[in-house]
């Protein structure tokens, strides 16, 4: 279950702007609830790229050597939309259930 959520988080972060690998790792690690490390993020990025949900391209960086930036593809945007709506339904259902069981 957690793996699917990390995927959703990555796609969500890439929705508003392109990011490079370490940037994604840092932003995800900042959320203790996600419990994500570089060892999880990089293989995930490789898989998302192979599946055509994101693409990767090197860009010059003003602060040092070039960096590889990731961006959502149209397929990725669709996947994000579907995953996000699935997540919202689950969250609503669970919240409701937990309310009732109090």
């Amino acid at each position: 279950m957690r793996k699917g959520l990390v995927e959703l988080a990555v796609l969500g972060l890439l929705a508003d702007e392109a990011r490079y690998g370490q940037q994604l790792v840092d932003e995800l690690e900042a959320h203790p609830g996600l419990a994500v490390s570089a060892g999880t993020v990089y293989p995930l990025l490789a898989r998302l790229r192979k599946d055509g949900l994101i693409d990767a391209s090197w860009q010059e960086s003003p602060v040092g050597p070039p960096r590889k930036y990731y961006r959502l593809t149209p397929t990725g945007r669709t996947a994000l939309r579907d995953l996000a709506s699935a997540w919202r339904s689950i969250r609503t259902a669970l919240d409701h259930l937990l309310e009732e069981s109090r």
């Binding site: 490390s37 060892g39 990089y42 293989p43 490789a46 090197w58 070039p66 669709t78």
Partner: protein, 292 residues
């Protein structure tokens, strides 16, 4: 991406259910069966679309890999003994390459490709040493240019030449018996004939080197060449060093063990690192040129 398998076309749905059912049957441990099945289903849902064909399913399933459990691997080819991993499946060039160079895997010691114990994941070592990024190459070595492959070939070829020259130069002055094994303190404790030593050292350097040259000349993909090149670098370094060590006769070589291990590991690691950085440079040239 779909939320339930029933969104798939009928033939793909049937194939997906068959694969899940086979996978479930392969898991003997009932306590994990449900969890693993849920994971596999999630993997399918994440990787398929409402119009996915059975062929696309097959490709996805191939990437997920076979579901295998130690109890259902009757030949017991993969597993671990008191925590030490082993793998007895016949090694392939691809598996060797993926084991020795996986920068996305944080562990530096990983189960060895063939045999008992661990191998060094040079990719993880390079990332830890900040010599390369985990995602520097989309597909390790896929874009490594010919020039880099030729440069990597130069090392084992050179070391083979050095070894052959060494024996040619000293063939009249070397004794008929040469050390063949050294103990932990670096003292020779096993001997062999000059002929056996020469044949063995030249075979150790020339053999894998010839293989690497052959694979290169046949134009095999760079990913395939990378594993062979690293192996050739390792054995050629060992062979050349052993040839020198034998010349020391019965003198104690306290540096021998560590030097041998370090140079073998160093030769393979530097070969792979060089090839990966060349691949990264090629990707950068392609992407940055397009941006201008």
């Amino acid at each position: 991406m779909i939320t339930t398998l029933t969104q798939l076309p009928a033939d793909t749905l049937a194939a997906a259910r068959a694969w899940l059912s086979d996978s479930r049957a392969a898991i003997e441990d009932a306590t994990v069966r449900a969890d693993v099945t849920e994971e596999l289903t999630a993997a399918l849902l994440g990787g398929l679309d409402p119009d996915s064909t059975p062929e696309q399913l097959a490709r996805l399933v191939a990437r997920i890999g076979p579901v295998r459990d130690q109890q259902t691997d009757p030949e017991h080819l993969v597993g671990s003994i008191v925590g030490v991993p082993f793998d007895l499946r016949p090694p392939t060039a691809d598996r060797i390459r993926r084991t020795w160079w996986d920068p996305t895997e944080p562990r530096i010691l990983v189960p060895r490709v063939f045999g008992l114990g661990w191998a060094v994941n040079f990719g993880a070592l390079a990332v830890r040493a900040r010599l390369i990024e985990p995602d520097a190459e989309n597909e390790p070595f896929a874009d490594t240019p010919q020039g880099a492959l030729r440069a990597a070939l130069a090392l084992p070829v050179l070391l083979t030449g050095v070894t052959v020259l060494h024996y040619l130069r000293h063939r009249h002055s070397l004794p008929q018996r040469l050390p063949n094994h050294w103990d932990a303190a670096g003292r020779p404790d096993g001997w062999t004939s000059l002929t056996t030593a020469v044949v063995s050292d030249i075979a150790m350097t020339a053999g894998p080197t010839a293989l690497a040259v052959g694979v290169h000349l046949r134009g095999r993909p760079p990913q395939r060449q990378a594993g062979v090149l690293a192996a050739a670098a390792m054995t050629a370094t060992a062979g050349a060093l052993v040839a020198r060590m034998r010349s020391a006769g019965d003198r104690r070589l306290w540096w021998a063990g560590p030097a041998l291990a370090a140079s073998m590991v160093g030769a393979a690691g530097l070969t792979l690192l060089g090839l990966a950085r060349a691949g990264r440079a090629a990707e950068q040239r392609r992407d940055l040129a397009g941006a201008r």
